[in-house]
Symmetry: C2
Subunit: 439 residues, 2 copies
């Protein structure tokens, strides 16, 4: 009797490779659940990060694990999906294979959803000395750094005059507003109790914005409200202020003024993940991949780009903003297109539905602008913000943990995980070796 093969022979099932497990890539992967395709989702990390809450990790409000979810956990029951922890290095277009550092993946459809990275806009010293806040490692490092400044200053109070407790946040968009607001709250409500003799009240938080106002996408009343609340809580807001040079302990502004500051948080903007260029795809401003209104890459049949790495046009041909809702909707749209294409149906253009924008400033303070001109601020906006973020977090466990942490922080005016914990580098695939001997 002949032995049956353990798995069915190779069929003509089409292979979809998705690069990046952020909002866009995860939405595309989930959108293909049950479709007659073989999906491989590639990310250099084994987890998907919920970026809107990174600033809370950086300011000791949440655990790193609360805002990250193991990718494999999301797809335990999705039989047509394989995950691969790897870094993409290029594409062999003739053979239609995505090249990885340690292998290759054949594809019929390629979805590039590789996200973005910090854009230092060529500011001198920024890449070496500024602290970005785009990924989970950034957030943990910023937390370690901020707490480290207080420990160092407690040991040597003279460092205050040198700027060890001066925290400059560059960029007046939602991330900059959120991290500045959270820093003053951490200092005033928690570290003031932690440090018995240190003059914590001398800690300064400066929020610098190049343009004339904070929160450019918001309406003038929301902008004014955000600025008033930030200033009332102790943030020094300086608009129309440009950073010219960043050193380890000094920040020079355009015009020549020099700030003494041992910390510069860079929330001034992002550019597309450089992998976009490495893949040989056409890129435009900010290194973003140029796509048509179907999210397709020109002259590359079966190739899509979504999320922060891509510049999808809106109705007027302007690129859509690099926001989580755009990424999620685009990811879902591409999944639908791939399904439709499989049935030989026509693909449709992508229409982003703007459901509003929000930014939180601190305890019971936020601004939200919803469709139909609805504008919220203060406590209602804050609760709306909390609720929305809980809903969009991945995984019931993370949702529950974040809820519990928020309730705890709110009720006790405390912050939990204010640990200075670096864990050393250890690349995936590396044999146990040198890193583990550092003690």
């Amino acid at each position: 009797m002949p032995l049956l093969p353990a798995r069915p022979a190779v069929t003509d099932t089409r292979r979809v490779v998705i690069v990046g497990a952020g909002f866009a890539g995860m939405a595309a992967a989930k959108g293909l659940d049950g479709a007659p395709v073989e999906v491989t989702l590639v990310d250099r990390n084994n987890f998907s990060t919920f970026q809107p809450l990174l600033y809370q990790v950086a300011t000791s409000g949440l655990n790193a694990a609360d805002v990250a979810h193991p990718v494999r956990g999301v797809f335990q029951d999705q039989a047509n999906l394989a995950f691969r922890q790897a870094t993409a290095t290029g594409v062999d277009w003739d053979r239609r294979r995505l090249l990885l550092e340690d292998g290759a993946l054949d594809f019929d459809h390629l979805v590039v959803a590789a996200g973005a990275c910090t854009n230092f806009f060529g500011v001198e010293g920024a890449e070496a000395h500024a602290l970005p806040l785009y990924g989970l490692r950034d957030a943990v490092r910023l937390r370690n750094h901020v707490l480290g400044r207080f420990e160092a200053t407690d040991a040597s109070p003279a460092l205050i005059d040198d700027g060890a407790l001066t925290f400059v946040v560059v960029g007046g968009g939602p991330t900059g507003v959120e991290v500045a607001g959270a820093l003053v709250e951490l200092f005033d409500r928690v570290l003031r109790k932690d440090f018995h003799t240190l003059a914590v009240s001398r800690a300064r938080v400066l929020l610098l914005e190049m343009r004339d106002e904070l929160l450019p996408p918001f309406s003038p009343p929301s902008r004014r409200h955000a600025r008033a609340i930030l200033e009332a809580r102790g943030v020094e807001v300086r608009t129309a202020t440009t950073v010219e040079r960043v050193g380890a302990t000094r920040v020079r502004l355009a015009g020549g003024e020099e700030l003494r500051a041992h910390t510069l948080v860079w929330a001034a903007g992002v550019r597309a993940n450089p992998v976009a260029a490495a893949l040989g795809l056409p890129t435009g401003r900010g290194g973003r991949i140029v796509v048509d209104d179907h999210l397709r890459v020109r002259d590359r049949p079966g190739v899509f780009a979504v999320g922060d790495v891509a510049a999808a046009p809106d109705r007027h041909g302007e690129p859509l903003p690099q926001l989580a809702p755009v990424a999620m909707q685009a990811g879902r749209h591409v999944a639908t297109q791939i399904r439709a294409d499989h049935d030989a149906g026509a693909t449709r253009p992508f229409r982003y539905v703007d459901k509003g924008t929000m930014a939180t400033i601190g305890r019971r303070a936020a601004v939200a602008e919803l469709p139909l001109g609805i504008r919220l601020s203060g406590t209602p906006a804050w609760f709306a913000w909390l609720g929305l973020h809980l809903v969009f977090l991945v995984g019931a466990r993370n949702r529950f943990s974040v809820l519990v942490n928020w309730a705890w922080n709110y009720l006790t005016w405390d912050r939990g995980p204010r640990l200075i914990l670096d864990t050393g580098p250890q690349a995936p695939g590396e044999p146990p070796g040198e890193p583990v001997t550092r003690r």
Copy 2:
């Protein structure tokens, strides 16, 4: 009108310096709450680690932050205590000052509670290639490493034959038993669902013990029970087995047998923190500081040593074991002695009260030996273990978070924080610089 000084002039308040914020140091510091002394607690970390649960961090059962508590948070209301994040480097005995990497602290009483570190017993290659499990960084690195082996093997299944999924645990004491039991549980219950095509069932966990039986401090029935449960759950237990050499991917045993294993967890023992020798104190076996039965260091008036760094004699003159309960009781005892000395009372000898020993093996499986010959195993021992560890955790928030995580893991057969997340080195006091640019 003369200006008043901001703080009262220096009085003759005696200064107590405690080195180490583990079980012993924290107990000593808390025991001095309200005493007419000035306490400075020194630790190189800004957090205190609850070591008995580290193996759960290493096996993705708990967050790192669940088993660590910021030291300053514990002492927010203890007015006579200052914390200093620093590394002790020596003592100037003439001036009675503890020397730090970045300063010095004068003392009248010195309490050395610096803990232990892994003892590799000179086994060739162990320091370079084995993964210890004594500190929080060790636990996070072990977690990253274990999950990394599965990711690497999923990409290249041939690695299984090379030992990429073979996990060797050295040391059959409670830590070794716990980590081996937790690893098989992680593989069987969680990773099997995470990896759709990988032959997770080929993952092996070997527990090697040099002596003839596991869990030497336990009674023979408990030892047999633990071994039977471990084996039933898939751990390969090998007693009377000695490791001779450790490589990155190979482990050689005495007798010449070579195991293919990319992971070797070292739970074989500890030695005193080398700071004991650096301070110029008399040390004995395992580098532990020799103290009398009052926990005093001979010929060093006002100097005490407690916890894993010290060898306190029991009633028979034998050194007490390096266990958390010994450390906590000794820390409290020293606090009482320092108070008594202040009132010119006599100090008393330290008598350790043994309240029993426990080790957990996995879900609803543990062994516990209590006074009066009471022996528990299985579900009752497991619940006793859970309850006891919840009670001894520092901080209501950590207790609550651990309880929630345990309930979640128990009810869903899931594990949450299985993230591969290294955050790079960043020493306290270091200006923002190179480390943050690694992406």
